[in-house]
Symmetry: D2
Subunit: 383 residues, 4 copies
């Protein structure tokens, strides 16, 4: 890369969790410099946040629309914006920046409704700008290696998919206190109608699809809310059917006492299985039918897909921030290619797209519909 990309950020002011993670991820591989932001709609907080990040005060905005217009007009305007707001702003903000031709890196989910997400997808295609959705876990080297193993047929025909994402941070009614994140994440107006389903169920769904290379065709789902007074689901359980005959189960819960961030995927094929736990991301288990389990480690996993996403040797653990950084690095490679009119390089092609985000909305809608219909098997739309 001949220069670092100029990055802007919408959201992520003081006290926000995910904004700080995006900034850190953007720094790790050194392809970006943060130069502008609408870090908060609150002017005082926006200014204080910008100062802390050493932004030029002239490039600290309180209105993302103004930021989009102004930056687009500057000769040194931002190349790409990172959107780290609550969910309900993802689509409007992304729309504003895409319309002025600025690339977008957006926290998931894509939007708060399918229609909104589809509109965004159309716009992104029209504008020929990058639209990367930060499904962090697909940035892990061994997740990419898992995908490569499946694609190479090492598992044989896929038969069973078991994916789960269990946390305990919402086991009590935090949103009734002062926890800001709990507040917006359990508010349908800000987070969308799906609670746990949208927040982490979609991560599980995406991970399974990323690794297996296939999405289920049908699901039978049940949502549940354990915490009294909560306005969205905090527990989701469902059965899956795939077009090739495979079966699967997906569980997501935010009330699973003792679970920290338990995203786990197991895929069983006719020849072998793999198992991955994002809490131990430096190892991937591969076990042949009737055979001996192999603990593949990051840095000793042969494949090029994994090596592209690794920085340091085996035995020197990488983690969540490096997985996140990988998304930013791949985005930088894609932006460079798009800006140069070149094809996306293969090694950077694994980024989650706006279409993947639309698929996530189809998943959410199918789960909501199945649940509403008493757990009936429900087709998951595509397109």
């Amino acid at each position: 890369m001949t220069r670092r990309l100029r990055l802007g950020m919408v959201g992520g002011g003081q006290g926000a969790f995910i904004g700080a993670v995006h900034r850190l991820a953007a720094r790790i591989d050194n392809h970006y410099e943060l130069v502008a932001g609408a870090l908060s709609a609150n002017a005082v907080r926006a200014a204080a946040s910008a100062a802390e990040l050493r932004l030029d005060p002239a490039r600290s905005y309180t209105d993302y629309q103004e930021m989009a217009r102004t930056e687009a007009a500057r000769s040194d305007g931002i190349d790409v914006v990172a959107i780290v707001t609550p969910n309900h702003l993802h689509a409007p903000v992304a729309t504003a920046f895409l319309q002025v031709g600025i690339h977008v890196i957006c926290d998931k989910p894509l939007a708060i409704s399918l229609a909104e997400g589809q509109a965004l997808a159309r716009l992104a295609r029209q504008q020929n700008r990058l639209f990367a959705l930060t499904h962090t876990y697909s940035g892990y080297p061994l997740v990419r290696h898992a995908r490569a193993l499946v694609a190479a047929g090492e598992l044989g025909d896929l038969r069973v998919v078991q994916v789960e994402y269990a946390q305990d941070w919402l086991a009590e009614p935090l949103e009734q206190g002062s926890n800001k994140q709990a507040g917006w994440r359990t508010d349908p107006a800000l987070a969308g109608p799906a609670g746990c389903l949208g927040d982490i169920g979609t991560h599980a769904y995406h991970l399974a699809g990323f690794v297996t290379g296939m999405l289920p065709s049908e699901l039978a789902a049940e949502l549940h809310t354990f915490v009294a007074g909560r306005r969205v689901d905090d527990h989701v359980q469902m059965l899956l059917r795939y077009a090739n005959g495979a079966r699967g189960m997906l569980w997501a819960s935010q009330v699973a006492s003792g679970e920290e961030n338990g995203l786990k995927l197991r895929v069983y094929g006719s020849k072998a299985s793999i198992s991955f736990d994002q809490q131990h991301p430096n190892e991937l288990w591969f076990t042949p039918l009737g055979g001996t389990a192999q603990r593949i480690t990051r840095g000793r996993a042969a494949g090029s897909a994994a090596m592209h996403a690794t920085r340091i040797p085996a035995g020197h653990p990488e983690g969540y921030l490096e997985a996140f950084a990988q998304l930013y690095s791949d985005a930088a490679l894609q932006i460079a290619a798009i800006d140069a009119g070149l094809p996306i390089p293969a090694e950077a092609a694994l980024l989650t797209t706006v279409e993947d985000g639309v698929a996530g909305h189809h998943f959410i809608d199918a789960a909501l519909a199945s649940h509403a219909a008493g757990g009936q098997w429900t087709a998951i739309s595509t397109g």
Copy 2:
């Protein structure tokens, strides 16, 4: 115990797997001596098996009916019979022995149909004989400790039950070759209409019920057969609802490449969770909400229920055979109490009963019905 109980066995001739396990389990704690058997319906094989086991030839039978009559008539006749035949014979054999007043230890499942199981339950109650079903995994000390933790309220209100039982030994069509066990287990006439569901799904169901102290009220199930030509299911996935509002999932598969005998249970309550993997039975994980995971080990787990079922100190692993032996030991204590007209001692009361076996048939029938109805939520009967 003033004397060892005289044990007879039906089934378990040369080459059988589970019969040898029962005999070994019966020896471990030294409460039994094997003195009679109808080890095979084939006379030559029965005699050879009896000789290998050093049985008195006069007490080696080829007909279990004759064995029941003859042993009942002897002054030194057997106290108890172990039934280790293929499933379709469980009920007829048990009936024959109960009718002549002999206690029964029976491999699971109880029968090959609910009606058969219910008839057996009635008979057992009438005869006031022990009827113990060998759900092995409830013999593990830490499974009993898990149950005690739940019962003591250490988990708070139960919210989520996750149970699974994954194996790979039927991932290929073994029954089309010479594997005798695969043959009868996939033959509906010998094993009943449920394949994987009946064979290991019931183990998972029983374990979850044993630990949580509650059975689900409804399920939504899907069965599947992955191996072409197989006549029963080899994969089961289902959602569960409990009367207290808890939710759950159950997965059982015999085609999960790389899995050996993966029976795992996790229970999440409002205050804490537990996790148990029968492949590592000397440890039980207990994690409070928001807290630090504790690895409770057999022998250092305080409770009396666990200590009753443990033989050697922590760090000296016990295993599957000791869990099995515990069932035999508890059965011996129960038989002594029944024969003496005394109440069952509390520490020996955790044995699986004929009523548990009936509950297993209700589970099987509900799962078959739900599957047949396209995965509809289906009530699980009781009684």
Copy 3:
């Protein structure tokens, strides 16, 4: 086996730990029946213990000399005696039985001094009787598989041996209270001059030798006693040199807070390494140089040495008692061969011998000598 061997026992009366383990181990594979015992030198306790074990009162002795004479004279006298007394009686008791031609299975260590052990070895050779020392851990199937892997050259040239045995049960001065086992094990008159060194250091030493097929030629040792007032060492640390140039370390401690029974062995060769933890005896790790770790499981480990010592399929955990039982089973095979004048069958040949016991005494003496000489490198004698 045409009949079960008649087993006698010296020691192991009520309340003793290891005697009960021996009896259980002897039962598991059904090659023995316990028919006689000198279970305690205390007549009341001996009788009560014998009654509990349902021994013929005529064959319950208080004097092992009398037991040896009497049993040798009976036509149905014992074939073999199990010696489970405190250490100082091992040699006298074994001598008494060997002299009358009775086979011996003896808890480790062989004796309380090298001279005593050597005399015993000579006697055992003269009498051509079995003398099996119960180094339990060599009965684990995967320990035997580890040995086979080394012997087959799968590790290349051996370079590094790391072995340790850590417990915490003597972290406090239990011997100053009423703990009988702590009492005799820390009394030099009853246990010998080596405390932790003799009790568990020898297990570690034996295991390393068993797996690697080689014993070190020199050691540099330091003993230490952490608990005030204790009369023997409770911690041992040492460096090892092997004749082939390999290096090693051995650590044994009985004051390692939090450790239950942590016997662990790692062996590194020029091509690969293996790692075994007896607390997880159903798995053995094998990792090639620069390669992927493989978790070999009992029952899926191909080799015949492991399969000879396994009872049930992979995923059904076996444990400490089965490892112990394996020693008894191999002893039964050896006794049958000796009595028939046949060569020891290869699969039963891995039993620990009286010569291994002598090697253990050479190890103890070298460690004591090195420590006394300020940690000087000291040759370990052979023969």
Copy 4:
């Protein structure tokens, strides 16, 4: 921090491993900007490396002496230099920058001899500049928590220290091929007389000292070289004695087939023990005497020392790069304090100092001396 510190680097040109790690670590928490470098003594390589890092060509040097003089003279000259050269240049380069008043962050070891290290320590004290040695592993939050647990007396009196560092990357004679890193690390002129001992033995020694808060007073060591033709040791094993009576063992090897970066520490006290494996840095085991093991996780470990060094919640793994970044962040806090004439803030005080580096040289020298004297117990000097 009001501004980012201006960072220079000596060493770390294209192809170097550790230089890239330092730069990445410096970026993570955003306290530094890299503005100058003498990245290689080779002019072409220095220029290419500088261009790749987008340095101002005017601030790309080939001579570190010139760099020190020039940067010291600039009003926007570097605040601090990172030294990432082979070992033999650490002291000369550090001297050059300290003499012109520039703070130093130096890769370990401090120097290639004790005398050189001591001279450097005197200079650093005189100049009142930061001298931070990058013992990476002390940057892990749970290592700091372990230290805090020990300091708070949670382990009781310390009794046993077990530390090891095992790798396999030098199991074959890589230095005889084209591996540049293997070349200089096994060349006594460039790396110093200690091979594995100096490279990773010192890491193990430092980690044990950091956590326990105490250094051993004596050691008995043996070095060994397994690979033919190698000019330095590739395996070290030693026994340790501490002034408080504690005992310990240290093992370091670079020929341990299958080991990636196995730095592990266990500390046993009279009340409890801790265990840490840097390959799983998000968990720390704490086990009371006779009690239940607790898996403390990063982010759920209460202490302030750990929280100061953590970025993201429990269950989102951090790794080696974040540990490294922590050293840079603490260095930034210390530099700000030094430059402002303020005391070092307590939370940033855990950085490895030049005195720690001198202690490492005392360790190396004692080990070399003990080995030369046939493994004799040898005092470890201080001061």
